[in-house]
């Protein structure tokens, strides 16, 4: 019996791995290819084309010149800096607003609490696809259209962030807060000294999701920065890069890798967070 089952099992496992690898290649081949292109030495005498399959996937001569060239010629540092400023301001703003709002919603009793929380959750199902029209008009009216602030401010108060923080605060025992209150701590002190230090893992998770989303976001920054090209983040400028270097895919690939590598590092470091589907649970 055992001898009959074993080969079948081995075959089954083998097929599973073939399937896993096939799907894996479908998922990551664009990165592998783009990476290969980005480190290809395009100056070799015989000439190279990115469409010379399968050679273009396995560059013979390797160089980092494409990275230097795209950085220098395209002025990539400007867009990189914009991405960094916008992403970090968004992360900080989101964490601050969410951490503050979640505290009264989870640990304080006051009139209107349930109504406010309900209204915040309702934003998850409100049709929001055309909000950008009114938001651009509003930013224009208050003079923030085409500024960093204009990109950041409308995106930092989210039901998702407040919900995540509220869930975490709920788990903090009330007795801890009561003890602090008896010792004469104000609500602000409790939030700052107890709640925020205790919820550091949740803040980290929220921060990482916000960071990746903001770094990658394309549509909103592109409309909020309409006409302010020099403030565009990489995610928006990338398309311009593609247009400008249309003849030089090697530089474009290098630019793409510069944008992707930080995200990949964050992802590898915080992989478990993403795999838990935390984001999907609320989105």
């Amino acid at each position: 019996m055992k001898t009959r089952v074993a080969p079948f099992k081995a075959l089954n496992l083998g097929l599973t791995y073939v399937l896993l690898i096939t799907i894996g290649l479908f998922a990551v081949f664009p990165f592998l290819w783009t990476f290969a292109i980005s480190i290809t030495d395009k100056t070799v005498a015989s000439g190279v084309s990115i469409f010379d399959f399968p050679q273009s996937l396995f560059p013979k001569a390797i160089t980092f010149n494409n990275f230097i060239e795209v950085y220098r010629v395209f002025g990539l540092e400007k867009y990189l800096l914009n991405s960094v400023i916008i992403s970090f301001a968004t992360v900080l703003g989101t964490l601050l607003v969410s951490a503050m709002a979640a505290y009264p919603l989870s640990k304080m009793v006051f009139p209107g609490r349930d109504l406010i929380f309900g209204a915040m959750l309702a934003t998850l199902v409100l049709p929001s696809e055309t909000n950008f029209i009114v938001n651009v008009l509003t930013l224009n009216k208050i003079g923030l259209l085409g500024t960093y602030w204009g990109v950041v401010i409308p995106t930092i108060a989210t039901a998702f962030g407040i919900f995540i923080m509220r869930q975490t605060y709920m788990a903090v025992p009330d007795s801890l807060l009561e003890a602090a209150r008896i010792d004469g701590a104000t609500e602000f002190q409790i939030l700052w000294r107890i709640m925020i230090p205790l919820s550091r893992p949740a803040l980290t998770a929220l921060g990482i999701f916000t960071l990746v989303n903001t770094w990658n976001s394309y549509f909103w920054p592109s409309v909020a920065l309409l006409g302010a090209d020099n403030l565009q983040p990489l995610s928006v400028a990338m398309l311009k890069l593609k247009g400008q270097f249309n003849h030089d895919s090697f530089n474009v690939a290098a630019g793409a890798m510069i944008m992707m590598i930080p995200v990949l590092i964050v992802f590898v470091a915080a992989q478990r967070l993403f795999m838990r589907g935390l984001e999907g649970a609320v989105k």
Binding site: M100, A101, M120, P127, F219, V236, M238
Partner: protein, 303 residues
């Protein structure tokens, strides 16, 4: 002892930033945007600082009789084809990676990488796949599926452009839904699978007769999310084709975008089109909830 009113004051003070921002940038746009749909309001109004003028249903008549909008609506609805394919593939992928075999975490992670890829980067990379001398044609020619002499750029052909973009949506979506399904799968009791295995059910039967019925709530939720995303597709279109060639990838939100900031600066008409899209979204949600509700008693009766 703190008074009740001071607690209330502190609570609202802490809530103030979130409430103010949400009021201005989340709730107000829904209300004011709906109002704009019934008004005449363009860039000219901004210049001369004149308020929107109420025109009743005129914008809606303009939108509905506009052929571009109808093309957009048709393409947005066509995009729904992605939903069943994407959901079944994601669920199958979740089943596949829901096994404790060496290296499985690596595969799960690899499948998720497209999810954290910016649409702009996807555009850069997939353009090289779809172009005439690109990777897709190379692969198809390699397997003798197409004739090299008749090859074309997939994004430049009106018959294939929308399908090509759908493939990218699939690529960026299946890891996302896989993780959601994985969460659901891990709550299915192992004994059930084992019992079926003892009864001699093969993998195919187990998938359709155990996994799918038990995962039904998750499947319905994911299908709803996926459908709403499909009819609202915009970013993919903007970065790949801008609606072309010959409007073959022109969607409803593309219309809204062009009417507002892309070309026309006619905020009234754009808002009206947006409202019509929201109605389509509500209809899809309603259908989904009806299916979920009808589903509940049936399952109860079976159990």
């Amino acid at each position: 002892m703190k008074t009740k009113s001071s607690v209330t004051f502190t609570a609202y003070l802490l809530l103030l930033p979130a409430l103010a921002l949400m009021a201005v940038f989340t709730f107000y746009p829904v209300l004011y945007g709906s109002y704009l749909g019934f008004t005449e309001y363009t860039a000219a109004n901004l210049g001369s600082n004149t308020p929107p003028k109420w025109v009743g249903l005129e914008n809606f008549r303009t939108v509905i009789s506009d052929e571009l909008f109808r093309i957009g609506l048709l393409n947005s609805l066509k995009y729904l084809i992605i939903v069943p394919i994407l959901q079944m593939a994601s669920l199958a992928a979740a089943v596949l990676v829901n096994r404790q075999i060496p290296g499985i975490a690596l595969f799960r992670a690899a499948y998720y990488v497209p999810v954290i890829t910016s649409i702009t980067l996807a555009a850069v990379m997939w353009d090289w796949v779809f172009t005439r001398e690109g990777l897709l044609n190379y692969v198809l020619e390699f397997f003798k599926l197409i004739d090299p002499s008749g090859s074309f750029g997939w994004l430049l052909n009106p018959n294939t452009a929308l399908w090509a973009i759908m493939l990218v949506t699939f690529w960026r979506g299946f890891g996302y839904y896989m993780v959601l399904y994985l969460g659901g799968l891990q709550s299915i009791p192992l004994e059930l699978e084992e019992a079926a295995l003892l009864d001699g059910a093969n993998a195919w039967q187990r998938f359709w007769q155990i996994t799918v019925p038990l995962m039904r709530p998750t499947i319905l939720l994911c299908s709803l999310l996926s459908s709403l995303a499909a009819i609202r597709v915009l970013e993919e279109i903007l970065v790949f084709t801008n609606g072309g060639p010959l409007n073959s990838t022109y969607t409803v939100l593309m219309y809204v975008y062009q009417k507002s900031f892309g070309l026309d600066f006619n905020y009234g008409v754009a808002s009206a089109a947006g409202l019509l899209l929201a109605v389509v979204g509500f209809i899809l949600s309603y259908i989904n909830f009806r299916i979920t509700r009808e589903d509940a008693p049936k399952r109860g009766a079976k159990a």
